[in-house]
């Protein structure tokens, strides 16, 4: 298994990609495969304040319901509305069109607390 090297990860399977002062968050292919077909996703609204290591949403599949966590603090600037009608995007393309939220971050140093791709893959046993 592999995962993109241009982002950092939480052990709870969320990826974080930094562009300028905006961090985009989604979940990994491993997590999407484990969940199987995703049927519903609950995301915050634009403008919502997010705290590092707190839950920001919820994802539901035919198998399970799981919380979504952010590794960084900040304000939500964009939400991927396409997921409401087509949550299967997360299964098919978790790293690109299956992204969830974009956050304007307040403390870039928080990213240093997240896992590198190598450490993440080691944590999930690959």
């Amino acid at each position: 298994m592999s995962a993109p090297t241009d982002r950092r990860y939480l052990q709870t399977h969320e990826w974080h990609k930094l562009q300028g002062d905006i961090v985009t968050i989604g979940i990994t292919q491993f997590a999407a495969d484990e969940l199987t077909d995703i049927t519903f996703i609950d995301l915050p609204k634009v403008g919502a304040k997010i705290q590092a290591n707190q839950r920001f949403g919820e994802i539901e599949s035919v198998k399970a319901t799981s919380d979504l966590y952010s590794g960084v603090s900040g304000t939500v600037t964009q939400v991927n509305d396409a997921l409401q009608n087509e949550p299967g995007l997360i299964n098919r393309d978790p790293y690109e069109s299956g992204w969830m939220i974009k956050i304007q971050i307040t403390n870039p140093a928080e990213l240093n607390n997240l896992l590198s791709v190598e450490d993440y893959l080691k944590k999930v046993g690959h």
Partner: protein, 492 residues
């Protein structure tokens, strides 16, 4: 059982058909205000009585219950409900009672409620019981309200956090949310038990309670529970016991003895009242003395030889249910406890544990137990409680999913175990105490046949179920695009 598709009532509708003939009206006709009338067709089905009876009889034949066959649905304790319970609930003095009758007319019913209170307090090892909550989750919510009332009364309204392990039943965080408290999740260790260090790290003067299920949802009794209770009490919080798994500890240990301060019962699991039962159930709560002033009113009390309802409890959180709870469900719970007696209840739990360990032992070479003994070791090395979890990785690696196994069991006449709870890719199997060795062996043989089948050919798994009124349903489409109403032209 017939497998012909059953048409919906709307499709069976014949214009002008009637199930009953109303008598001629013998009162004068009154004009309705046209503003209150709907002049379009109602679209309600029109059906004759016999056709209506047949429709529901056909549907009832498709029902699956413990009275049909083995139902090892983990976490749900699908034990057989003895028919004597139904005899008791149908007694005239109980079934035809009106809740507004004066206490003097209802002494028998009040006595039953009073003695059930005493039974449940004794089984819990706690001081006081409220019979009012009408479901396990309603009991959780009521108990959390009681805890909140206690802390408000003791000048600690800031205690708004409830800790719950990541293996908790979904109702725990839901009850907390309904009660206005914040839930924080505590991690489990790899062996499925609560991580005491993580618990310690989360305890503070803002924590109101810790909700624990013991034995927990992975089917293991947490022997550290008394240490956990000490930690929780030292932090000034209460230990809440989710009584979902009481079927494993009746008469063996008591929540109050291992440090729980308040708990709920699921009478449909532990005390053989109906699951679902076409209406509310009962979720009594038991608690220590210091929490008792806050429990719901009214409380059944005994003064001399007279039973009555006590409303004079100024610190009570008030009513959580009309009248006196779900009385006829409580009658069944009473009948069960009285029929078993103290020794019988202990026998219930010992047999439930024995059945689960026997079944686990018979299949574990093909169905791995992530929280069981090491490979090749007997169950006695690390016994389960009344249920166990398997993650049959070897079978999954052959491309057979948990859902494929579940659907294949349906074809063989069994209700599938719980799937994907409390961890991914698991089956949670709870045989209960009411099954014979022959039934357990039959189920074990079937499970082993499925494991063997997975080595030869996985195609039959993908086709299952084939012997049922419906084949494999598209659960993804049903979840993503549910169709909740029928309109003419739709296919049934």
């Amino acid at each position: 059982m017939t497998h012909a598709p059953e048409k919906l009532l709307f499709e069976l509708s014949t214009p002008g058909a009637r199930a009953v003939d109303l008598p001629e009206s013998d009162v004068p006709t009154a004009e309705l205000d046209p503003a209150l009338c709907l002049f379009t067709e109602s679209g309600l089905p029109e059906i004759g009585q016999l056709q209506l009876v047949r429709h529901y009889t056909h549907l009832s034949h498709r029902n699956f219950s413990v009275d049909d066959n083995f139902y090892p649905l983990g976490s749900c304790t699908m034990k057989y409900n003895p028919k004597v319970n139904e005899w008791a609930a149908a007694l005239d003095g109980f079934a035809n009672l009106h809740p507004m009758q004066p206490d003097a007319d209802t002494q028998g019913a009040l006595a039953l409620l009073y003695h059930l209170r005493i039974f449940l307090a004794e089984i819990a090892g706690l001081d006081e019981v409220s019979l009012q909550p009408c479901a396990g989750a309603h009991g959780e919510w009521t108990a959390l309200k009681v805890i909140r009332a206690y802390f408000r009364d003791h000048g600690q309204p800031n205690r708004r956090i409830v800790l719950a392990p990541d293996t908790a039943h979904g109702t725990n965080p839901a009850s907390c949310a309904m009660c206005g408290t914040n839930v924080v999740t505590i991690k489990s260790r790899p062996d499925g038990l609560t991580d005491l260090d993580d618990l310690r790290a989360h305890l503070s003067d803002e924590v109101a309670a810790v909700m624990v299920t013991n034995p927990n949802t992975v089917g293991r009794f947490d022997a550290h529970i008394a240490d956990m209770a000490d930690l929780i009490h030292d932090a000034g919080a209460f230990l809440y016991l989710d009584g979902a798994n009481m079927n494993a500890i009746l008469g063996i240990t008591r929540p109050g003895d291992f440090g729980a301060d308040i708990m709920h019962y699921n009478t449909h699991k532990t005390f053989s009242t109906p699951h679902g039962c076409g209406g509310p159930g009962a979720g009594p709560i038991a608690m220590r003395k210091q929490l008792a002033p806050y429990l719901p009113v009214p409380q059944v009390i005994k003064t001399g030889d007279t039973y009555s309802l006590d409303y004079n409890r100024p610190k009570s959180i008030g009513r959580v249910r009309s009248f006196h709870g779900q009385f006829n469900v409580l009658v069944r719970a009473y009948a069960y406890i009285a029929a078993c007696g103290a020794a019988g209840l202990r026998n219930v739990s010992e047999t439930a544990i024995l059945c689960a360990n026997y079944l686990a032992q018979r299949i574990k070479h093909a169905y791995a137990l992530p929280f069981g003994p090491p490979d090749g070791q007997p169950m006695a090395v690390a016994p389960c409680a009344h249920e166990f979890i398997t993650v049959p990785q070897a079978i999954l690696d052959r491309g057979v999913t948990i859902m494929d196994i579940a659907k294949s069991l349906i074809d063989r006449g069994y209700h599938p175990p719980t799937v994907h709870f409390p961890i991914h890719d698991c089956l949670m199997i709870e045989p209960t105490e009411t099954e014979s060795k022959a039934v357990l062996d039959g189920f074990a043989d079937t499970m082993l046949q499925l494991a063997e089948q997975s080595q030869r050919d996985t195609a039959p798994f993908k086709a299952a179920p084939v012997n049922q009124p419906v084949r494999r349903l598209d659960e993804v489409a049903a979840a993503r695009k549910p169709i909740l109403t029928w309109t003419p032209g739709d296919k049934a």
